[in-house]
Amino acid sequence: MTRQIELGLLFSRSGSYALISEACRTGAMAAIARVNGDPRLDVRFVPVERDPGGNVDAYAPLCEEILRGTDARHVVGCITSWSRKEVIPTVEKFGGTLWYAVPYEGFEASDHVVYTHACPNQHLLPLLDWVMPAHGRRAYLTGSNYIWGWEMNRLARERITAAGGEVTGERYLPIGSREVGRMIEELRFARPDFILNSLIGPSSYEFMAAYRALGQEDAQFRPDRCPVLSCNVTECELPALGPAAEGLVAAGPYFRGVPGWPGPGTFGSSHEAAAFSAVMELARLLAARAGAETLPLSQLLAGDRGTGIIDPETHHTVLPVIIARVEGGAFRTIRRRDAVAGDPYLTRSRLVAAPALRVVS
């Protein structure tokens, strides 16, 4: 007998990171449609949507509204780590589960969260391991003023200095700020070998445009000489970036058209793919297990007889690591590693040292 199962969706459809929300939502909705049209599954998802509108303080109350006011125990949602941290106490309190489909900074393994996008050993560390031999070891770090940028830059600093490199500057902007002038002036002076950009939304768009202008003025700042790196830019933001994205190098588990993860089909971006894979995995876990939809995540996973994608200890997933450069408005793969397990505390893979670095003159 088919079961109607309510599924929470908690995405901000307006605000500074709405493009990412839309990408995740598209992926989740595509998976819901796939599940609901699959006669082999006894599961039909009924989406319950709430829109925090980009206001971080609205997440926890709206998540509570879903978990308290409906039968949904699973919520797909949150973009920023800030909002995720706001929601975790709520899912813990109500025995719910958050499915989080966005790259994040690691150092978390909640019993109530599944992380279907990449953490630093799946994005930042491989990206730095690529860039330092290729471009040099002098970095400029920038990010939005919250945990994502702070922790990414701390980790980058640790990795770069351990490799004998140097951080020439580090600067943050409040979420939504477009005040990038000071960073451009610092860059002009610091002349690094690469820039790690963990800004989000309009701050990032403004910075990329200003950096492109700087490159037109001074060839040292052209992307082939001093590239901008990102672990959060995907295809979903390329329209907002326009030509300023050219030459940007990003790391992620998927770029449009790359086969493999998360299965057959083409996705708009890794955000879309990760949300899709989250909902598909949930459907697999619930299928043919009547009543499983009320279980907390720990019990749901404990009773799973199949080969799931979720690591039972960390709730992270095995993902490909793809490093790709924007060329002609699309990502082109530079380097690819298959099947890297998420290691949120860098305790499982840290023993693997960074590859020996050659100085490239």
């Binding site: 813990e92 505390y345 305790t347």
Partner: protein, 200 residues
């Protein structure tokens, strides 16, 4: 004083031991520690030498008692994290006497273990470094009399105190030993009793 930077310990395959009776709090803590990447054991009655082989000790502050640790009271050789249920002053005082470097409140839920590990490690390292520094300063303080005697002996060769002091410093540098050790050598060479040999 500028704070020394935090050292993020390599927790991969580190060993934690939880001294607590079987309890949901132990399960929740084990889940957290396993997710972080540690190997975890739990024991309550008569913890044995396995405690000494651990890298971190979590102990029950509610039911804990003197003599539960296989080391001198208050002298833990590894970082210690108190699991506190009743926040009664007596129990907190006992935890501090036992040498707690950090604490986690019970019931332990979904988080808290990682920061407790890092804070305990940092406090433990800081305590160790300070103890070593204090021991060194104390030794040098005790050696003041030897230094005074060495300077007097050198000054007896017709130098001023300042010149004798500078000469002693140069000797220490040339011999590649500490100032105090150089003073002891001078005193010994002159047949004088070294303060330190009397002490030992």
């Amino acid at each position: 004083m500028k704070r020394r930077p935090i050292r993020i310990p390599n927790l991969g395959a580190a060993q934690a031991i939880i001294l607590h009776r079987p309890h949901p709090t132990v399960q929740a803590l084990m889940r957290q520690l396993t997710a972080i990447g540690l190997r975890v054991t739990q024991t309550w009655s008569e913890p044995g030498p396995e405690v000494l082989a651990s890298d971190y000790v979590f102990f029950d502050a509610d039911m804990g008692h003197d003599g539960m640790f296989p080391w001198e009271p208050g002298q833990p050789p590894i970082p210690m994290i108190a699991l506190i249920g009743s926040e009664a002053p007596g129990r907190i005082e006992w935890s501090l006497k036992a040498g707690a470097h950090a604490q986690l409140l019970k019931p332990v839920g979904d988080n808290g273990a990682y920061s407790a590990l890092l804070i305990a490690r940092d406090a433990f390292d800081a305590q160790k470094a300070l103890s070593a520094e204090i021991a060194d300063l104390r030794r040098r303080l005790d050696d003041r009399q030897t230094v005074v005697r060495a300077v007097t002996l050198l000054a007896a060769r017709g130098r001023s105190d300042t010149e004798a002091y500078a000469q002693l410093r140069q000797m220490a540098m040339a011999w590649r030993i500490s100032f105090e050790d150089a003073a002891a050598r001078i005193v010994a060479a002159q047949g004088g009793a070294d303060e330190r040999s009397q002490r030992s």
